[in-house]
């Protein structure tokens, strides 16, 4: 059996991967045409990252 082990990601890599997969799923579910899907995925990914980094930045003063 294949046991996926020793898989290490940084916080940013994990967040980006998560955002990418969710954006792709949302894009496929909510849009029909390929061009619209691509636009939606890119825009959604950008917003995911922007808001994620923004929240991280806003929380930084409270982390120490």
């Amino acid at each position: 059996m294949i046991a996926p082990t020793d898989f290490h990601l940084s916080h940013f890599q994990a967040m980006t991967l998560f955002a990418l997969l969710i954006s792709i799923a949302f894009g496929f579910l909510s849009r029909r045409r390929t061009s619209e899907r691509v636009k939606y995925i890119i825009w959604s990914l950008f917003l995911f990252l922007l808001i994620g980094v923004g929240i991280g930045w806003a929380m930084f003063p409270f982390s120490r």
Partner: protein, 147 residues
Amino acid sequence: MPDDTVTEATTAAAAIAVPPEHHARNEIFAFAIGVAGWLVPGLGHALQKMWGRALGCFLTVGALVFLGVAMRGNLFSSEGGDAFGMLGYVADLGTGSFYFAARALETQGSDVAHAEGDYGTRFLAAAGVLNLLAALHAYEAARGRKA
């Protein structure tokens, strides 16, 4: 008479003309599509020949589950105890058959002492919720709603 009124009147007349047993059959079919979509991610769309959506759902839910397991996320069981554990179990179970695949793959158990394990838990829960959303979408499409 405006066109919109004519269309509405025609649709209403058509709805009245359809026998109730036909509605019930459609509802059962749509429910079966929803359950199929829950059991195997993307199957609900594949049965309706929505190939792109089927492939998109299957691959994204599959990738989230695989990565969640690879990061050693916590896969909740029915013996969680508290409300959050039960909520996590419902979310994880949303992946349908992939839940059992994840159980089989996660031979070393979870490791939430590290950030990766914590991320893995979120990946697994998100996969379940995403699949439930996709199954609901397939159900609505089978009922004839705009999808």
